[in-house]
Symmetry: C2
Subunit: 232 residues, 2 copies
DNA sequence: CGCCGCGTTGAGGCAGCTCAATCTACGTGG
DNA sequence: CCACGTAGATTGAGCTGCCTCAACGCGGCG
């Protein structure tokens, strides 16, 4: 990570203003916390934190895209969150200080804003609405995770992939820059199975593909096959 | 549900004192919230709340056992939580008021204590430590749910069942009163597959079974095969 | 230019789901 | 007290989705 000195106070306040979980907090408080924040720059593929790291800071993405994932002992990974501007990387850690089974890495060149744990905690105690917001976000994440377990049980790979594609479409638009491995880590399957399913979708004219890129041609067909979307 | 008038204030305070998420709250505050609480009695199998119900109250189990589960459109169910005395049924709902995809029913004769949402909310704002505790619990639940997704991906049924049995053993002791269907809803599989796996474990002398009951004979063998337990 | 990672497709194998038959424990009502 | 119905336990047989391994082409990057 490189220290980034370019982002001034004004920009940091702007970031916090639109940050997920900071709705309803007065500007004066946002300025206080922006004062305490520092900024880091990360290259594509660079790690932001590892599993088992004790949590020392609250982190929000300011620029770029960051993948937060759960790893297993056998080397498998599952993508838990794709965080863009304004999205926090770790909502629980700052409150407990304990490590989680999560790791984060930059998917593209990214800037991340850090607030030290004790500064964040006293900010949260001054503004309890933040904690309500965090609880509400965790609730959605929990529902999404439970939904994924259900889907693993009863939905075939192709349906899970459709849900992933629809979710990504809602977040990023029609052009999705992900490899089959990345999609597999989102859908809970293998890259080969993803490729086969995408092959069928391509045959039906629903998507078109190029190396490392996928374009949604008929988003309405995706929407029909998904009752609910993921929280990614 | 039958109104239960037997539980006096003193008992309710005792319940809150040992309730999960209420650590570190002064007795004076516990008494205030105990004042606002009401109690309901439920028969085995009776529903406590349904999916899609908007959340109107915070609920803690006082007696018996309550199953909280996620349902799917195709009729499948997954058990999310088995709540005993002192365990809350819905941590997010009281804060958001929104329905979740969860339903709760009594597994055995049960008593549940309810605190109306606005009373609980003002209690939480007076005692922010409660919100910290809730966030910490949600973090564990989220890690457990993510772990379950990973397990569905890479662990065979038998290993998932071992983890379920070990978790239940840690919570309830060596004698477990669950049917194969209930175990299947915990392990994310079918009753038949559970029975086949249990048959193997019985052959190895690890468990013994009777109708609706299972006894752990060699808990040490269970422990060895599980690196982490579930949050149920 | 050579290497590496990705995309693509084929073949093979197996875990576990589904369906089905049977047996047993238990509760209920006559 | 017994007949009966229901729900769980048990086991077998069959099928299939998808994971695994493998081969090959291609594009990008050092």
């Amino acid at each position: 990570m490189a220290k980034d000195l370019e982002m001034d106070l004004e920009e940091r306040v702007n970031l916090f203003r639109c940050a997920m979980g900071f709705q309803g907090i007065p500007d004066s408080e946002l300025e206080k916390i922006a004062h305490e924040a520092s900024v880091g720059s990360f290259e594509t593929g660079e790690a932001i934190f590892f599993e088992e790291d004790p949590c020392k800071s609250y982190c929000v993405v300011a620029e770029g895209l960051v993948r937060v994932s759960v790893g297993s002992s056998s080397g498998n990974r599952m993508t838990y969150l794709l965080a863009g501007r304004g999205e926090p990387l770790n909502l629980v850690g700052p409150f407990t200080g304990l490590p989680r089974l999560l790791s984060a890495e930059a998917v593209s060149k990214a800037k991340v804003v850090f607030v030290k744990r004790d500064a964040f905690l006293s900010f949260a105690f001054r503004n309890p609405q933040v904690m309500i917001n965090v609880i509400s976000i965790l609730g959605k994440a929990l529902d999404s995770a439970n939904g994924r377990v259900m889907d693993m049980m009863e939905k075939p790979v192709e349906e899970r992939l459709l849900k992933v594609l629809y979710t990504l479409y809602r977040k990023f638009g029609v052009t999705l820059c992900f490899t089959s491995r990345e999609l597999a880590e989102l859908a809970g399957t293998t890259p080969e199975s993803v490729l086969r399913a995408i092959g069928r979708l391509r045959g039906l004219g629903i998507v078109s593909t190029a190396r490392g890129r996928l374009v949604i041609k008929q988003s309405n067909l995706l929407a029909e096959s998904c009752e609910n979307i993921l929280w990614i």
